[in-house]
């Protein structure tokens, strides 16, 4: 079985003053280059499928310039088996998906995993375009995935918002785009990282591809939000340093320790728990 994972090396802007509004240029010092976190989740899911089903080949593919090789190498370090780069420098999602569709069609596929969106352009279009061009079903923003390979079926769960979820069943081959909640990506071991540096990246030239059509969309204007008064986040000072750091790092809303005290079970068990708690706290 072949699992294709589409990855992208993104330029993540961490400082709001990075873009010069007059020229539209981005200050490279205020940007970092990294593998798109949504794609990282997709890679992790592909490796997990390989680990549980066995006999799978995970192929990481990326359309981009030389910097895209970093994304591929990271995906390889995480556990992908092959790296393929489409040499293309543009940003148009329609065109990219056209190229990807051709390349993936040549490689062959059973499952395609894409990140839900990239964290630099926030378009979220490539996955959908790609499914369209390959004429396969697509489930977007999945948070849980179950495979039934004997029946050539997959069941994916996705968020609807407000806590609602739906389960979607579809036939293979299929394209999924992944939500961050799908899994917790692994940290690559050193041996794989060093191997990634040595392993050959397959390079496909897009010149031979048919989809040389113009992009369907065009960016005409860019604007930034009005500057807001800066709010300094002050975590609850009763928390420990680690919890406060965690809160600061996640921007608040970290899990509080008391939340895990919600009880569950039969009425007998509940009564037991409450009694134990009362004795433990020396209330009775």
């Amino acid at each position: 079985m072949k699992i294709i994972v589409c990855v992208k090396q993104i330029g993540y802007i961490y400082d709001s003053t990075a873009i010069d509004l007059a020229t539209g240029e981005i200050d490279p010092e205020k940007m970092v280059s990294m593998l798109n976190p949504y794609d990282e989740v997709a890679v992790e899911e592909a490796i997990k499928i390989r680990e549980s089903e066995g006999d799978c080949e995970v192929i990481a593919i990326s359309a981009g310039g030389a910097e895209a090789e970093n994304a591929l190498k990271y995906a390889f370090a995480m556990g992908a088996d092959r790296m393929v780069r489409l040499n293309y420098d543009g940003t148009d999602p329609c065109l990219i998906s056209q190229f990807l569709a051709e390349a993936i069609g040549k490689i062959g596929y059973d499952i395609i995993l894409c990140g839900k969106k990239s964290m630099d352009s926030n378009g979220g279009q490539v996955g959908s375009f790609l499914a369209e061009k390959l004429h396969i079903p697509q489930v977007s923003g999945i948070v849980k995935l179950k495979l039934f390979l004997n029946e050539k079926k997959a069941v994916a769960e996705r968020y609807l918002g407000k806590g609602d979820r739906e389960e979607i069943e579809c036939d293979l081959p299929v394209l999924f785009t992944t939500e961050m909640a799908l899994n917790d990506p692994r940290y690559p071991a050193l041996a794989r990282r060093l191997l990634a540096e040595k392993t050959n990246i397959e390079l496909l030239d897009t010149a031979s591809f048919t989809g040389n059509a113009e992009g369907l969309t065009n960016i005409v204007k860019f604007s930034q939000p009005r500057p807001k008064t800066r709010k300094t986040f002050a975590p609850d000072s009763n928390l420990s340093a680690a919890d406060r750091l965690k809160l600061m790092m996640t921007g608040g809303g970290g899990s509080s320790k008391e939340a895990s005290d919600v009880l569950d079970g039969s009425s007998d068990e509940l009564a037991d728990h409450i009694l134990k708690y009362l004795i433990q706290e020396k209330i009775i």
Binding site: Y12, Y14, D15, E29, K30, V32, S33, M34, D184, R186, Y187, P188, A189, L190, A191, R193, L194, L195, S237, N238, L239, S240, A241, A242, D243, R244, L245, K246, M248, M249
Partner: protein, 718 residues
């Protein structure tokens, strides 16, 4: 193992074997030829000098004592004992040699110095007075008896056959006799002290096993029977040297009260002689199979001790390999495995370990012992350490505070074993607490643990005009001031501290610059968590930047950065000088470049940060600044300087937040509050963050101050 190292270690090893054999032989010789021989054996009438039969035979044999049945039996037993000792040590040696090479035998004179100071001088052991002195007596007793024995051996096998001269003659013998008597006495006292401590005082860092009891019992019995044998013989044969063996003679005199007649004494003598011989041999044979082996292994370990700066972790080769660090017992180096056998379970590491004191799972002593047991279990040699003898909690609870290494009397390094296991967990298994994943990614992508990004690194300096080295071109300032991640990016309190350093330097007219956005994390968090690869990336990037700007001197207020630059960067090719900021400020104050305008007339206590104190032995300059320059009434806590308690931040634990046991920072603040001062002075941004939360958690936010020493200096001089 490299061939040269193998040869050298074999030589040392053989030397100890030789000592062992010679003491076995010499004990036997001593009992026959010196303690037992008085003139009446060879001369019926010593005054006339005529030889009797024994004497004649003795002379004909080239002064070799004729061997009787009793002696044949004794020699056979001795032979067995020697084989047993040899086998025992060899078996242990084989276990150690399964490890990877990694012994360093450079700076030999320094090694020998250390060996003498710590084995015969008992330097580190004496830091605990009672136990130390007990042990000192025992060691010296054995050393003196050993020296006497070697002396006898030289006389018997070298001097006598070659020149036919006796050094130990009638004039010399009494002094010799007295020396041995005293040696025996101090040994007995030493053994008694140790037994008293172990079984009456019962300090909680000691755990008692049968082996401990047996070893002590053997020691006491050997001394005791030795005295009795000498004493009774003197009584029986009326030696004129009775008064030269006061202890032996007195003991024999007591025995004589209970045993009637010469025949009774002779039976006693025979029984006691055999008792002494057998217990002595048993003791020797027992050495390699008990804690007594530490006489060899600990001495070896002291000789081979780590002479690198104690703040530096060993460099890990990160070229392609199947495994990094220690995942299995044989991934440890020879030295690490030797250390396991050098441990005497004295418990000084656990007594000072903040993880154990705060009731967590980690106990450095039991960690070493568990690894030792695991090493002995050869069939399990390919089992993973984590999940086997060691648990995940244990290795991640360590705050790398260095207490265990600092206090080990025989230079065992439990923390380095933890670091090796962490390296394996991170680099090979990629199985570590998930909180670290984000730290690693942030360090790799953004260059600081929290992912704030490099341009934010100049925010703290926005109200000051500071040279940024990348702007000054060729005109590089003399000193580079390194702000560090905490002080530059994410902690408001520490940003103020960083700002304070710059303002103090400005005031004192120091020519300095900062790297600003070209600064990256020094790599300390990554390295202590075990990610050597990331550390190397960051360190090489920083070294490259500093070389580019020709940085000659660097100063930083973060002890973690300080330690990394000073002790760890040189191994990667850095060649700049790292200045201790407190020494520098103390210097500026004493030179009059800084003037104290406002005396701080308050009482404070000072917390030694691990990475400043234990790691780099900076204890006095912060205290000097506090007391003599700022006029602070400094009241010390119980645990200061070498025994300073950790705030709980090191080894990545500030970002992780260990949930087991009590909070280390809380314990430390409680200790500070108990000194009845107005506040605690720290010298490390990590400690600041930890204590800040602890003070608030204890509800002391309005009554107990927390202030960084730099801030205090700023208040006084500006």
């Amino acid at each position: 193992m490299q061939p040269m190292n193998a040869v050298k270690s074999l030589i040392i090893f053989l030397f100890f074997i030789f000592l062992c054999l010679s003491s076995a032989h010499a004990t036997e010789y001593y009992s026959f030829h010196v303690a037992g021989s008085d003139c009446t054996m060879c001369h019926d009438d010593p005054a006339s000098g005529e030889l009797n039969d024994t004497g004649v035979e003795f002379e004909e044999n080239g002064y070799r004592f004729p061997i009787t049945q009793k002696e044949k039996l004794f020699y056979a037993l001795s032979g067995l004992v020697i084989i047993t000792i040899f086998l025992g040590i060899f078996l242990r040696y084989r276990l150690w040699s399964r490890g990877k090479p990694g012994m360093k035998i450079d700076r030999l004179s320094k090694r020998w110095d250390g060996l003498f100071v710590n084995v015969f001088g008992q330097d580190k052991i004496l830091k605990k007075s009672f136990a130390g002195h007990g042990h000192l007596l025992l060691v010296w007793s054995f050393t003196l008896i050993g020296l006497a024995v070697i002396f006898i051996l030289i006389q018997e096998y070298v001097v006598l056959p070659l020149w036919g001269v006796r050094i130990i003659d009638n004039h010399f013998y009494p002094y010799f006799r007295l020396l041995l008597d005293i040696s025996g006495l101090i040994g007995l006292i030493g053994a008694g002290m140790l037994a008293y401590r172990r079984y009456v005082l019962k300090p909680k860092e000691l755990d008692n096993t049968t082996s401990d009891a047996l070893s002590l019992l053997f020691l006491v019995l050997v001394f005791f029977t030795g005295f009795l044998v000498t004493g009774i013989r003197n009584q029986l044969y009326g030696s004129e040297w009775m008064c030269w063996a006061p202890v032996a003679s007195s003991l024999a005199w007591v025995l004589k009260l209970f045993v009637k007649g010469e025949d009774g004494l002779k039976v006693c003598l025979d029984a006691l002689w055999w008792g002494h011989a057998i217990i002595g041999l048993l003791l020797l044979a027992y050495i390699p199979y008990s804690r007594l082996l530490h006489a060899f292994t600990s001495s070896l370990n002291i000789f081979y001790r780590n002479l690198e700066p104690k703040g530096a972790l060993p460099v890990l080769d990160i070229s392609a390999s199947d495994t990094y660090g220690a995942g299995r017992i044989n991934d440890f180096t020879f030295k690490h495995l030797l250390e396991l056998d050098a441990c005497t379970r004295c418990g000084r590491c656990q007594e000072n370990c903040p993880a154990l004191i705060s009731e967590k799972n980690l106990n450095p002593k039991s960690l070493v012992q568990k690894l030792k047991d695991h090493m002995g279990n050869v069939s399990a040699k390919n089992n993973a350490l984590i999940g086997g003898p060691v648990t995940n909690d244990e290795i991640w609870e360590c705050t790398t505070c260095l207490n265990c290494i600092e206090h080990c009397p025989v230079f065992i390094e439990p923390m380095l074993k933890i670091v090796e296991m962490r390296r394996n967990a991170v680099l090979t298994e990629s199985n570590f607490p998930s909180e670290f994943k984000q730290i690693f990614k942030n360090l790799e992508i953004f260059g600081d643990p929290k992912g704030k990004g490099r341009v934010t690194r100049e925010g703290w300096a926005s109200n000051l005009k500071i040279n940024k080295i990348y702007q000054t071109g060729n005109d590089t300032p003399e000193i580079l001031f390194w702000a560090g991640c905490i002080g530059a990016t994410y902690d408001e309190r520490s940003k103020n501290t960083t700002n304070a350093v710059a303002r103090i330097f400005e005031k004192a007219g120091v020519s300095f610059g900062i790297l600003g956005k070209e600064e990256f994390c020094c790599g300390d968090p990554a390295r202590r968590i075990g990610n050597e690869y990331l550390f190397r990336q960051l360190a090489l990037k920083n070294i490259e930047t500093m070389k580019k700007y020709g940085v000659k001197k660097l100063v930083t207020h973060c002890p973690h950065c300080f330690n990394t630059f000073k002790n760890e960067y040189p191994a990667l090719g850095a060649d700049f000088e790292v200045i201790d900021i407190f020494e520098m400020i103390a210097g500026l104050l004493s030179q009059g470049k800084l003037e104290v305008k406002l005396k701080i007339d308050e009482s404070f206590t000072y917390h030694d940060p691990c990475y400043l104190g234990r790691y780099n032995s900076v204890y006095e300059s912060p205290r000097d600044i506090l007391k003599s320059c700022l006029g602070v009434n400094l009241i010390e806590m119980d645990r200061i300087k070498e025994t300073s308690f950790c705030c709980g931040a090191g080894g990545g634990n500030m970002w992780r937040g260990v949930s087991t046991g009590k909070r280390m920072e809380g314990l430390r603040i409680q200790e500070a509050v108990n000194t009845k001062v107005q506040g605690i002075v720290t010298a490390c941004p990590h400690c600041d963050i930890m204590f800040d939360s602890a003070i608030k958690q204890e509800g002391l936010g309005y009554t107990f101050k927390l202030i960084n020493l730099i801030e205090l200096v700023k208040q006084a001089v500006l």
